[in-house]
Symmetry: C2
Subunit: 338 residues, 2 copies
DNA sequence: TTGTAGGCGTTATCAT
DNA sequence: ATGATAACGCCTACAA
């Protein structure tokens, strides 16, 4: 491997000059620049990223901490983040925290020692001391899903409340009148907002029944179980809004086993817009998050902080959701959507 | 951030001594060791990973190149790899190649410059020059799915041929007699082996019909399309073996739309054992790969190479598959499996 | 416009 | 058993 010194020697200049042409900073004569460039080609010289990192304190590496890449919500997000990071010349380190406090702490420590340039936190489990731990280390970070809402802590999220309303209104527009809700864990901000949207949309028309709400944990299994419970307690229910797509998938399974005609007898809508919803039969309607955009924004935000040292403008921004109406809600002559 | 020099000063020893206790090599007096250790605690000293990497030429970072983390096969693999890497103190860089030659090349270059300690290649697209490119760079690598079979190139795979036989035999044991096959792209080693297994199992009993085979591209969409084609050309088919689970999912969708009773009229089995198969209704039978184990072995193999400089023993090993019989093949009083 | 030299934080070779 | 000190490869004042 050729070093900067080899290049300097071959081009008969100093390493400083070579460094200048590499980094395009400082004055350098056009002639010498060409000479240097040629030498670099000749020697097939590539700057040593590690050495550069030591000197610069920039590793061009980002880290993504998420609960579990095996959860179908995250691959799409990870993809967006990796794509965008790569676009800017950054590598992406993946960390599965299992929403576990110890693992999270240990990852943060290890990433801090590796001097990653930024950390994206897509996990709900983010205690205040963890945040401060990162802040103290001086590493820029961004959180997703509004895990926390802190001054100076960039966070990208979606309009969960409005999404809840959209889901219910869609169900109503398809003729449902007894709408059940499988909500997520109540200690998640996202669950609560979606739930509130559900409540408000129904209270508006005096149709809210507390017993039509059951609580799952965002997993397929809980969706299956809760849909069964909902329908055994309230056979009259003709529409279900699941707080996320995975629970909707579980609910679909339950509905099919119960021999319910979908959407005629029971319509079903999820939330998130992950691709698995379109692979089911019938395809499941959903309130889609701009997942790719969220990931891309998070990276942009981080890189802004890293490079321009500016705080993220998108901080706290809530992106819009989009209704994706599919077979699980579209009755015969129902309306459609994009 | 405290440096090794700070620790040395506080403990009134030289940096060399501190380095010795950090790395537990060389002689060091018990007393001084304690003094040094205390100083480290006191200053909350953590060795600077980057500096260490520069000196050691070891970054404690592995890279995983795969086609697309969004493909449901890969998150499970990535999870296994990340888990195992972490266990050994390594971080994992994720790279989505989209099976694209240029992207792959550019990743390899970038990873090479980052001096990752090892690369795991889970992509089918691996031309010989790419391999040599990595080999020349001296970075240990491992490939999955027997993408290539080269002397000295560790490769972990499964018994695809036997798997094909298992799938067909299972279908036969459930009473199917007209078994179709949706095979994968013929330029993939895995596709061919599975196909051969299918052929041999049927030829054994004189039941092989070339026209019962159609070709997909491992995607859900192609599975959907090919199942439709298969059944429209051969309505008598009562069993389908899809060469991977994603195509099985697509096929399931097609069968349901065609109002086929599953498994009574048409039984269906996939290949891979990804979790999505158990989330469908009916649940899809499959020939399961030990995905987690594969990932773990790949990492072990790499770390063996890195640390002990020994070639991987598992090189070229083909792991066993396991039949997972579920509702999509289990007729009434059918047999079961683990 | 270009070169010299010190520093980034560790490791490892030699002495002592 | 311990300590100087030269690498590792690059960047960047500061000089020239």
């Amino acid at each position: 491997m050729a070093t900067i010194r080899d290049v300097a020697k071959l081009a008969s200049v100093s390493v400083a000059t070579v460094s200048r042409v590499i980094n395009k900073n400082g004055y350098v004569n056009k002639q010498t620049e060409i000479k240097v460039l040629e030498s670099m080609k000749l020697l097939n010289y590539k700057p040593h990223t590690i050495a550069r990192a030591l000197s610069n304190k920039q590793t061009y590496t980002l880290a993504l901490i998420l609960p579990d890449i095996t959860n179908p919500f995250f691959p799409e997000l990870a993809r967006a983040i990796e794509d965008t990071a790569t676009k800017f010349g950054y590598s992406l380190i993946l960390a599965n925290s299992d929403s576990n406090k110890e693992k999270t702490t240990s990852y943060i420590e290890s990433l801090t020692n590796r001097y990653v340039d930024g950390i994206i936190f897509a996990s709900h489990e983010l205690s205040l001391d963890k945040i401060n731990q990162i802040k103290d280390s001086g590493i820029p970070m961004a959180t997703l899903d509004r895990a926390v809402n802190l001054k100076g802590l960039p966070s990208i999220g979606v309009q969960n409340y409005e999404g809840g309303i959209m889901a219910v209104k869609h169900l109503l527009s398809m003729g449902c009148s007894k709408i059940g809700h499988i909500c997520g864990p109540i200690y998640y901000h996202t669950s609560i907002e979606r739930y509130k949207g559900y409540v408000d949309a129904l209270e508006d028309i005096n149709q809210f029944h507390p017993s039509y709400v059951v609580q799952g944990d965002f997993s397929i299994e809980s969706g299956f179980e809760m849909a069964n419970r909902l329908l055994s307690n309230h056979p009259e229910i003709d529409g279900i809004f699941a707080a996320n797509d995975l629970m909707a998938v579980g609910a679909l399974k339950a509905l099919i086993r119960l021999k319910k005609k979908i959407p005629e007898e029971v319509a079903l809508i999820g939330f998130d817009g992950i691709s698995i919803t379109s692979q089911m039969e019938p395809e499941i309607s959903t309130i889609a998050q701009p997942i790719y955009q969220i990931g891309a924004m998070a990276v942009n935000c981080l890189i802004d902080q890293i490079q321009k040292k500016i705080p993220c403008e998108q901080s706290g921004q809530e992106l819009e959701l989009k209704l994706v109406a599919r077979a699980s809600t579209l009755k015969s002559k129902g309306h459609s959507s994009i």
